[in-house]
Symmetry: C2
Subunit: 325 residues, 2 copies
């Protein structure tokens, strides 16, 4: 790809969703108005070829879609409405212009769904791996952002949906040829890996209640995400193994222990994990507005995550876990 | 560098400048309030090792400082006040943890100067080159952002300071050994390359006036930056060669044509280039609040940039120039 100018034109959306956007792509910076009584919510997350994705398991369209999904998921975990995004792409000549356009088309699919405007970016050369860094901006009603630090002893631990499906899907893709025939459940896992759905409606609904709710998104495994809640809130989080069945990948030929491993240590499911009082949780279940799975509870103790099975308790994670990737 | 957790702690600033920041680094996203009657200004720019910088001409501190400076310069070109920034760094094992901390220290130096808070980021592995992508956020009084599209025939073309010094400095660094003795002027050029100063005070002052002013920053050469103004405003911009003397690099042993080349085709000076009516320009000169150099004028015509010398006019740039780097 030699012509940056025409490439940028080709990937710049022609329609605008956000009325408050004063200046979009094409000047030194984008400019937008804000609404009274809202706060701005901003995050950035990057995907690197060979580390966060491989070209044989994600199409260019899916790479782009996922890079934006990761960031929308972070907004969901704050209870924010997505509004804008900016993209840095560092790309080598091994990627064709058509493939790059597909990457932007993948982002655009989600952007249209969530009414997000692409308001800026930078396209740079790299010698080797593709690096895709996305900044996402949303807003939330003032004081309503859902922090990780709000968990309290006595809370219910909940998730919004299945965890481990994405890791299962990746494993299936790596084991079998792409064109192999997959069962419907296998396909569902592969789709969870390739085209994850951020949980914006659940996040914004939870934020709208104005209740004390701790919230995080499951971008890494449940174990480390629960640990983030535990550390931020300085509480002990207990995962009840007997309650995990409805959220484990529903693959018949796979061992329970393997499914549990995917759930605890997989990643990229982009469901939400949170805690709230038993009272609020009961109200949420009664309202039926969103699906929540009760998978454990919070108690006082050093920041840590415990797996409880019958009468056996196992320490899952305690302080200083690392993922440098 | 193996321990992402402690690394992030080591580069996370402990103080906060912006009172309106509700949630800083450490949750899924940052949250901040906005002021009534302001608009948000957002941009992103990346630097790639081997393309935008080399380790033998910029220290890690200078790499970080420059990556933020580029973005602050974009805010300056809109007339915005810098407030927040987010950083994605894709880094290979050839960089030590100490060097990475120096990169953040370099950003931090400018951040302290401009009272910017680091509110988010992502640290990812790469196999090869370092990629540093910075998102900067500022604000501007509603309706006061300075666009590239405001130039009109009859305007004065101005810049805020010397152009081409950075390219001259890079050339000096590449020609001579680093420890060679440089003259004061040479040192000043090298400093312009290694530690450029974004022109925030000039940008915010120009925006505060509420006058019609077209503005851009000189991140590439003057030729292409003037062309951006010409295209956005659909006017012809005439650079008067006889007025360029005060803004050319002041190196005695260098040919005039070489200096002119640096000015027109160099880059990374981060001065501002703009146009405004003769009346406003005269008022600006009279007020003495900021330094502006008159280097030409705007006239009706197809979007293009012309160099005028005595009675000879040369076309410098017309449409569709490219820089894919």
């Amino acid at each position: 790809m030699r012509d940056e100018f025409s490439f940028i034109k080709s990937i710049t959306p022609t329609n605008r969703f956000q009325q408050q956007l004063t200046i979009g792509i094409g000047d030194d910076a984008a400019v937008y108005k804000t609404s009274a009584a809202t706060e701005q919510v901003v995050c950035v997350d990057a995907m690197v070829e060979g580390i966060h994705f491989r070209r044989d398991t994600l199409s260019p369209f899916q790479i782009g879609r996922k890079a934006l999904a990761i960031n929308i998921s972070d907004l969901a975990a704050m209870g924010a409405n997505p509004m804008y995004y900016l993209v840095t792409i560092a790309v080598s000549e091994s990627w064709s212009e058509h493939e790059l356009q597909d990457i932007y088309a993948g982002m655009n699919e989600l952007a249209e769904l969530y009414k997000m405007d692409l308001i800026g970016g930078d396209t740079v050369s790299s010698k080797d791996q593709l690096v895709l860094s996305v900044t996402a901006i949303g807003n939330v009603r003032e004081g309503h952002a859902l922090k990780r630090s709000s968990a309290k002893p006595g809370d219910v631990l909940f998730v919004t949906g299945p965890i481990g499906k994405s890791a299962a899907g990746l494993e299936l893709l790596q084991q079998k040829e792409k064109d192999n025939s997959f069962t419907d459940v296998e396909r569902s896992c592969i789709r969870a890996h390739q085209e994850p759905e951020p949980q914006i409606s659940s996040g914004t609904y939870l934020a709208s209640l104005g209740k004390r709710i701790a919230l995080n998104d499951v971008s890494d495994g449940l174990s480390s995400e629960a640990m983030e809640l535990a550390e931020a809130s300085n509480v002990q989080i207990v995962v009840d193994q007997e309650k995990l069945h409805p959220i484990l990948p529903d693959l018949q030929d796979v061992d329970h222990s393997q499914k549990l491993h995917w759930l605890l240590n997989g990643g990229e499911d982009f469901q939400l994990i949170g805690t709230t009082s038993e009272e609020t949780f009961a109200q949420l279940q009664k309202s039926g507005s969103i699906t929540l799975f009760d998978i454990g509870f919070v108690r006082a103790g050093n920041a840590s995550v415990i797996m409880k099975s019958a009468n056996v308790e196992t320490l899952l994670a305690k302080g200083g876990y690392n993922h440098f990737s």
